[in-house]
């Protein structure tokens, strides 16, 4: 079981968080730390790229929801890149498609941020 987290600066004041592997009760704290660190630094516009994520559970969803709530307090936003049908299905059945912007490509997610 593994999780890979990579944070990179993008255009403007936006950052991209690339995630890869499996996000569950064991690995989600690492994702939470990365997102929290960005928000603590004043980064409120995020694209979280889930293209290389093979699995996500409710604790992973909770981390994403928590990040979204925090950036919205500062007028920010979080867009997701998700091309995995099974993971997209989890967002569909939980209704989270209504609160996250979910896109097929990083370019589309980035353009929709601003």
């Amino acid at each position: 079981m593994d999780i890979k987290v990579n944070v990179r600066e993008a255009q403007g004041d936006c950052y991209v968080v690339d995630l890869g592997g499996e996000i569950d009760v064991y690995t989600s704290p690492k994702v939470k730390d990365a997102i929290s660190e960005l928000i603590d630094r004043g980064v409120y516009h995020l694209v979280i790229n889930l293209e290389k994520v093979r699995y996500i559970d409710s604790t992973g969803l909770g981390v994403l929801i928590g990040g979204l709530k925090r950036v919205r307090e500062h007028g920010g936003s979080v867009n997701l890149v998700c091309t995995n049908a099974q993971i997209r299905k989890i967002f569909d059945i939980t209704g989270l498609v209504k609160i996250f912007g979910i896109f097929e490509s990083e370019d589309a997610a980035m353009k929709a941020l601003v």
Binding site: D57, L61, G62
Partner: protein, 142 residues
């Protein structure tokens, strides 16, 4: 290895016990996925079962007080797969009412919601003295 199970094999039971710790949940879900694969569930159905079992184990880890291990029993029965996730806690993990902040509440609710959405039948059997059984069933569509 990939032959469909004969009818007489469908009473087979697979049981595993994992420590009640986050780092072992992956083993539980992958083990149950292997059982579901053996029973010829589709890839999408296997993913559903994996997530449901992982959510059940996560719920135990986060909520069941005093449970040091989790037992997962997989049984091919009634045209599908029945999975019993048993904990030994004295505070049932199905109990949703305790003080939480909004984020925790939402997440906890998501886990139970996912289990109920992904499986065909879900029931709880709570025993104050010996823990809780969360029994879930996924029908095998042939």
């Amino acid at each position: 290895m990939n032959q469909p199970l004969a009818r007489e094999d469908r009473d087979d039971v697979v049981e595993i016990r994992i420590p009640c710790k986050a780092e072992w949940v992956a083993l539980a879900r992958l083990s149950v996925a292997a059982v579901a694969s053996r029973l010829q569930f589709s890839i999408d159905e296997i993913e559903d079962i994996k997530l449901a079992v992982a959510e059940a184990c996560t719920s135990v880890i986060q909520n069941a007080k005093g449970s040091t291990s989790i037992e997962i029993r997989c049984e091919a029965a009634n045209g599908g797969l029945r999975v019993n996730v048993h904990d030994f806690g004295y505070d049932a993990h199905a109990e949703p009412i305790r003080a939480r902040d909004i984020e925790e509440e939402r997440v906890g609710g998501l886990g139970v919601f996912l289990i109920r959405s992904l499986m065909d039948d879900v029931s709880y059997d709570m025993h104050p003295e010996r823990g809780t059984d969360l029994v879930m069933f996924k029908r095998l569509l042939v």
